[in-house]
């Protein structure tokens, strides 16, 4: 496996993105957050953990059950899954932008199904930073932002650097008075 290094602020703020954006053209962008670049290797290893045993089982089956076609088929399917994860994941990470604006959070993501969601600061009910065991090893975290909304009531940003997620959470807290509905 790759040697996972924990570098909290390493890839943090790239240069602020100057391209005019639809939802937030006029607003001052305070900071642009990217996903953790090593996220791709996490996804790659994650996919490998599932694909390799499955392909191995297929090989065993093809040897013992005398279905020679199964093995190459499984290998092709497995390889394409890995290739898909790598390509899609790279595009996803490259496209992903999470901008902290003066008045809220603006999340732009997706490769085929793209969405840009704007969450005003005034609407954020609470936030949550989560880390699973593998994520902890890599120093990655997911940030959940909760609003009172019915369909976008819970917005999850997975794959942030832990330090970034905590920083964002602290930034989004505060300035609260009422219940925002």
């Amino acid at each position: 496996m790759n040697s996972p290094e924990v570098e909290p602020q390493a890839a943090a703020a790239g240069p602020p993105n100057p391209t005019p954006a639809p939802i937030a053209a006029a607003a001052a962008v305070e900071r642009v957050l990217h996903l953790y670049p090593k996220l791709l290797s996490i996804w790659f290893w994650g996919a490998l953990v599932f694909v390799v045993p499955a392909v191995m089982v297929a090989f065993v089956v093809s040897v013992f059950a005398d279905h020679w076609a199964v093995a190459p088929l499984a290998a092709i399917v497995g390889a394409s899954i890995i290739a898909f994860v790598l390509l899609y994941g790279r595009a996803y990470i490259a496209r992903f932008r999470c901008r902290l604006l003066r008045d809220g959070l603006w999340i732009d993501r997706g490769v085929w199904w793209r969405s840009e969601v704007f969450v005003p600061r005034t609407r954020i009910q609470h936030t949550e930073v989560q880390q699973g065991p593998i994520a902890r090893r890599y120093g990655v975290a997911s940030l959940k932002v909760f609003t009172a909304g019915a369909s976008h009531g819970e917005i999850e940003i997975d794959g942030l650097i832990h330090g970034d997620a905590v920083w964002l959470r602290d930034e989004l807290l505060g300035r609260h008075g009422q219940d925002g509905v």
Partner: protein
């Protein structure tokens, strides 16, 4: 029973004299008991009827006595105190819960009075806040005067209220009252009868004997009926006539049931309001009184079915912010303020909508059409899915004749897409965002932009290919997830402009 206790700091005891404690009505234990027993009543009846051994009844009695003691102690121990800024509620037997509920948190006040409540002159009062799945407080039961007093305090204790607001009760002039003609018409329009049939079927199912399969019985009954019909009328055209007659009879039966259900739930419907709150009251046997703060109304929804359109009627409902929808139970949802006008003419509905939401002028909304190619997208999408679901059954049923239903499905999808897109439009001004859509069943949704929780713009590969985007506005407490204020098939520039406009119209600071 252990709920989280208190949000804001309680009022320091030293500064103010403690306001007097109130108790529930002396007969509260009876209502608590009946509430607990309600779940047991049907099984007990079933046991008695189907006679499965006498010992069960004794065990049931022991259980009932236990519940009665519990209900008595619980009701006796329940206390509430009306403070200057918050309500203080103490309840529980073994683990005592003390809650401080700030008045500003309470958004919905719901009262339920069934026949027994009315006999005793008492009411069950629920206080709900925007967050959480449980009501902040349930007072079961208190006298009508105590409930009125609490409602008065809640209105004025909130601090934002003008003290001159008149009391909202039966003496307030109504904004809308439904007569029996309206209810009959509404019964004809809606399909509440299905609910009754479903409930009956459920009861039937539950208490059926183990060896007795209701599904098989029903099937046997049906086949006997059809068998006798087909034997009696060897002529197949007569058979078709009999089938049609059966359908009509069933339809009439459902409509009759619908009327009955409508009268039961909406008899004496009354909408009233003042500067700050709205209140509705309805019900023949069980009266539901729901009230909500006007500034907490998230969206207005107007609906119209084909039948309603022919009769020149629509209905108007609203969504208030309360609880998270997934967690709130069905009973709570049903009791909440929802119907502003269960039925009314177009001008009536518009007038009520304008009156309920200050600043709204529904008739003057500037409706903008969607992308001219919207219908094509919808047609392809609908035809694809309908064909996908229709293909296998029609191939099985009709074999090589399957192209006929397939063609039918495509024509239907075409009609749907054309009709939907012709009617679909959105409107956005400085205060409101609105969307309407539908073919046979039409719906209008209006929300104050200030109530938007998030604004999103999204697109699929098909969208990008055709130069379209979707703009969605999320509000709190949306009952129908998804379709409410999601405006699809907008030209990209238009979508971006709309999203930008919505974003800028959102409140920057908390009020």
């Amino acid at each position: 029973m252990d709920k989280t206790v208190s949000e804001s700091a309680p009022v320091p005891a030293s500064q103010e004299p403690q306001p007097p404690e109130h108790r529930l009505h002396p007969w509260s234990w009876l209502f608590a008991l009946l509430n607990q027993l309600r779940a047991m009543v049907l099984p007990v009846i079933a046991l008695v009827v189907f006679g499965r051994g006498d010992s069960w009844i004794w065990w049931g009695l022991v259980g009932a006595v236990g519940i009665a003691v519990y209900a008595f102690v619980y009701s006796y121990g329940f206390r509430y105190r009306i403070g200057a800024r918050e309500l203080y509620v103490r309840s529980g037997i073994f683990s005592r819960t003390e809650r401080h509920v700030p008045y500003t948190r309470i958004q919905n006040i719901v009262q339920k009075r069934n026949l027994l409540h009315r006999l005793f002159g008492v009411t069950e009062l629920r206080l709900e806040s925007a967050g959480g799945s449980e009501p902040e407080a349930v007072m079961s039961v208190i006298t009508l005067e105590a409930a009125a007093e609490l409602e008065r305090v809640l209105r004025h204790g909130g601090g934002e209220a003008g003290p001159e607001d008149p009391q909202l009760d039966a003496t307030t002039p109504a904004w809308l009252e439904l007569g029996s003609a309206d209810l009959i018409r509404l019964g004809l329009l809606n399909d509440r009868g299905w609910v009754a049939i479903g409930a009956m079927a459920a009861v039937f199912w539950q208490f059926a004997d183990d060896g007795w399969n209701p599904g098989r019985q029903f099937y046997r009954f049906g086949s006997e009926l059809f068998g006798s019909v087909s034997h009696a009328v060897a002529n197949w055209s007569l058979g078709i006539v009999a089938g049609i007659a059966l359908v009509i009879v069933l339809w009439l039966l459902i409509k009759l049931l619908s009327m009955l259900m409508t009268v039961l739930s909406l008899h004496g419907f009354r909408l009233s309001g003042n500067a700050e709150r709205l209140s509705t009251e309805a019900g023949l046997l069980t009266r539901h009184v729901a009230s909500a703060r006007r500034d907490k109304i998230q969206r207005l929804i107007i609906g119209e079915s084909l039948l309603a359109r022919w009769m020149g009627r629509r209905w108007l409902s609203c969504e208030v912010a309360a609880g998270t929808q997934a967690e709130a139970n069905a009973e709570q949802q049903a009791m909440r303020l929802r119907w502003l006008a269960p039925i009314g003419t177009e001008s009536q509905i518009h007038a009520i909508a304008d009156r309920v939401v200050p600043g709204l002028d529904f008739a003057r909304l500037q409706w903008q059409p969607l992308h001219p190619q919207a219908w094509r997208r919808l047609f392809k999408l609908t035809a694809f899915w309908w064909l996908l679901f229709a293909t296998v059954p029609s191939l099985l049923l009709f074999g090589s004749w399957a192209w006929i239903p397939a063609a039918g499905v495509i024509i239907l999808a075409w009609c749907y897409a054309r009709g939907w897109a012709r009617f679909a439009a959105y409107a956005c001004d400085d205060q409101f965002i609105a969307f309407r859509a539908g073919w046979l069943h039409r719906r209008w949704t209006v929300a104050p932009i200030s109530k938007a929780q998030t604004v999103a713009i999204s697109h699929t590969p098909f969208d990008r290919q055709r130069g379209m985007h979707t703009v969605s506005v999320d509000t709190a407490g949306a009952r129908y997830s998804g379709i409410g204020l999601s405006i699809p098939y907008l030209a990209i520039d238009e979508a971006k402009a709309l999203a930008e406009r919505l974003r800028n119209a959102l409140p920057q600071e908390r009020p």
